[in-house]
């Protein structure tokens, strides 16, 4: 073949997107950019600019943690959970990540015309059970109905308030070089559980979602006197995205050990088949904690004593440096662990 026969060419790029894409909600770089370009400049204030899972407000000497979250999941019921449990635990967990004890939740329901009432009853019963598990009452709410085809059965938005105990100050800016990074359990169960029941991807042998309320283990850490610097629950974008967010907001570098990060065989196997990296797969009941390395051993012991963090382990350390996350691989090499553009896509082969 002659040189001319090879066309050394490539496609034109797609520049800035002028409409919302699914990747804008994927927990990756596009979502971060959306927040930085659209929301932060519009609403900018000290509480928002702290960029934590909850805003912490000083109110008459008390510190109130305040957060809100929207829940859209298809299908509504999946192995190990449902949209109702997610809506309660997700908001409870955002409060817990500020070191707060959850006090009360609100819930707004956006219901699609034609939704079977029986299904709504199941979701509501599940929310009630979840609120009891988390020990937090649901004190106010709202209901709207949209035309058939304009919703996906049920969308739920919850908000929550909690009290931050005196002396507790948990946020990215508090992370110190040399802090130990603890992970509360194995990663990737929720994302794989959802994929296993999604149209077009159904497979068997998937694990149950890890969705769980995390105020318990966080409370235990704080009560045991551990000096917790920062907490982050692992949701969309998984462990890798959470580490990147903290590294960026704390302006520190992070190194984690691949072999220290637990992944159960059912998750590892599904990820291998689908071409996904479990470090980017969603969780709904796992968190990372940054704390002084000298207290790591005690913190692991405390966490392991709690059922929702029984698999706690240390996965790495923070260091001074510039907002990068590095993974030390099992064969000895290191590589950057970057934010993805949007959600991971299953590979062809």
């Amino acid at each position: 073949m002659t040189r001319e026969e090879f066309k050394l060419i490539c496609p034109a790029p797609i520049g800035e997107r002028d409409t919302i894409q699914m990747a804008h909600g994927g927990g990756g770089r596009l979502m971060r950019r959306l927040i930085e370009d659209v929301f932060l400049p519009a609403f900018h204030n000290p509480a928002l600019d702290a960029r934590h899972d909850s805003a912490v407000l000083d109110i008459g000497g008390a510190r109130l943690a305040f957060t809100t979250d929207g829940y859209v999941v298809s299908p509504l019921f999946f192995p190990g959970g449902d949209i109702g449990r997610l809506a309660v635990f997700g908001t409870v967990n955002d409060l817990a990540m500020a070191g707060a004890r959850p006090l009360a939740l609100s819930a707004a329901f956006i219901l699609e015309e034609g939704l079977p009432l029986e299904l709504l009853r199941r979701v509501v019963a599940s929310m009630r059970a979840a609120a009891e598990d988390a020990g937090v009452p649901l004190v106010t709410g709202d209901t709207k109905v949209v035309d058939r085809g304009k919703g996906d059965g049920v969308f739920i938005s919850t908000a929550g308030v909690g009290l931050v105990p005196p002396g507790v100050d948990v946020r990215p800016a508090r992370v110190r070089p040399d802090d130990a990074i603890l992970l509360s359990g194995d990663v990737g169960r929720h994302g794989v559980a959802i994929l296993s029941v999604r149209d077009g991807l159904r497979f068997e042998g998937a694990p149950e979602s890890d969705c769980a309320p995390l105020a318990g283990p966080v409370g235990a850490l704080i009560e045991s006197g551990i000096e917790v610097h920062c907490l982050r629950d692992l949701t969309r974008g998984g462990l890798a995205s959470a580490l990147n967010e903290i590294a960026a907001d704390a302006a520190l570098s992070i190194t984690v050990e691949e072999t220290a990060i637990p992944v159960i065989p059912a998750v590892a196997g599904a990820c291998e088949i689908l071409g996904l990296d479990p470090l980017y797969v969603a969780n709904e009941g796992r968190f990372i904690a940054f704390l002084p390395a000298a207290q790591a051993e005690k913190a692991i012991e405390v966490l392991r004593g709690h059922p929702f963090s029984a698999g706690a382990c240390m996965i790495g350390r923070a260091a001074s440096g510039s907002a990068t996350v590095t993974l030390r691989g099992r064969l000895g090499g290191s590589r950057p662990l970057d934010l993805l553009s949007g959600e991971q896509l299953p590979r062809i082969c």
Binding site: C10, A12, T19, M22, L345, P346, R347, I348
Partner: protein
């Protein structure tokens, strides 16, 4: 995990890397054909374990990367039609056509769905008899049997609202195109293990003979790849040029005869354009005339859509192994996975994306 952990064993990998070092006396350039192998090499840092004499060149074996622009534009046109449910493997959705991608079509109202198997797309067709279900059949010989099975079943079951947009490509003609190029740098190949699981490796023997080049059928885990490299280096050092099978736990000489029979039943060999490389004669698969009724290009009359690619990036050189991703001035700056200039940056199997994801820091 069984069949995974043992092939990622650090001590065994180091022993193999030491054996490669001991066997190497001269510089050799070895091309891993498959994007899955490239991904493993960069993810596990295998190239960093090799002696400096060994250069790994990343081959064109990423189906997403080599699907031509005009096929993508045809896919976008079909997916935009209101009666169509357009089904695709996940990583095709972000590949840019002329100005937009399948995600954009989806956000504009197109019914675009990710499926894991073409048989799931066929099931959608039976569930939605009032819609046209189209499956985007891209890939090498690996995905051809399942895609062929979907069409075969559709014909047998009389499912009329199902069709394939076919852009299948074949490995051996691509190897020949690379070897016969005056720019060729490749001394030896690691052939793609799962392609050979389907096709066997007899068709590689004439290539090894004609171009006097060793071809080692190789798997995808670190230990597989290091062992493939070791076998290839030994052949090069001894002046041999044979076809060897490192991936014997999966590959037989004759391949999977049932799968090959099905491919031959449904598909015929056709000329095919490769994105970034150009036309390669008899390098693809198209539907046989008996299955023409299931050809989405005909059904939706999109054959007239053609597209010329603009000379923006060097992915053609990367796909041939002439350049490394980091040698591109746009790499990591004007060209990133968020705003890819070329297909090799789009797919997670693409060489540029693998380098971006795993190598940027170094």
């Amino acid at each position: 995990m069984k069949y995974l952990d043992e092939y990622r064993d650090a001590a065994l990998a180091r022993r193999l890397a030491d054996a490669v070092r001991a066997a190497t006396t001269r510089p050799w350039r070895i091309m891993e054909v498959c994007g899955g192998q490239t991904h493993s090499i960069v993810r596990f840092g295998i190239d960093g374990m090799l002696p400096p004499e060994i250069t790994l060149i990343h081959g064109p074996g990423c189906p997403v990367c080599v699907t031509p622009l005009e096929t993508l534009d045809r896919a976008l046109a079909i997916a935009s039609r209101p009666e169509v449910i357009f089904c695709s493997f996940g990583d095709m959705l972000r590949v840019p056509g002329s100005g937009r991608d399948l995600f954009t079509v989806k956000s504009q109202g197109g019914d675009v769905r990710i499926v894991y198997s073409p048989l799931d797309a066929l099931e959608l067709a039976t569930k939605h008899p009032d819609r046209e279900v189209v499956f985007f059949a891209v890939g090498f010989e690996t995905t051809a049997p399942a895609n062929g099975m979907a069409v075969y079943q559709a014909k047998k079951l009389g499912v009329r609202n199902f069709s394939l947009l076919v852009s299948h490509v074949l490995v051996p003609p691509a190897l020949e195109a690379i070897l016969s190029s005056p720019q060729n740098l490749v001394n030896g190949f690691l052939a793609a293990g799962h392609v050979c699981t389907v096709m066997g490796f007899e068709e590689y023997r004439p290539i090894a003979r004609r171009y006097h080049v060793p071809i080692v059928v190789t798997g995808f885990e670190p230990v597989d790849i290091l062992q493939g490299i070791l076998l290839c280096v030994k052949q090069l050092e001894e002046g041999r040029a044979e076809v060897e099978n490192q991936y014997a736990r999966s590959v037989r000489g004759e391949g999977n005869t049932e799968a090959r029979r099905l491919i031959a039943e449904v598909f015929e060999v056709v000329p095919r354009k490769w994105r970034g490389i150009g036309a390669i004669p008899m390098s693809g698969l198209g539907l046989r005339p008996e299955y023409a009724a299931f050809d989405a290009e005909r059904r939706f009359a999109v054959s007239a859509i053609t597209a010329e690619e603009s000379p923006e990036c060097i992915s053609g050189l990367v796909l041939q192994g002439v350049k490394k991703p980091a040698e591109c001035p746009a790499f990591g700056t004007r060209c990133t996975p968020d705003a890819p200039l070329g297909a090799t940056m789009v797919s997670s199997e693409g060489a540029c994306a693998a380098y971006y994801r795993y190598r940027r820091a170094s």
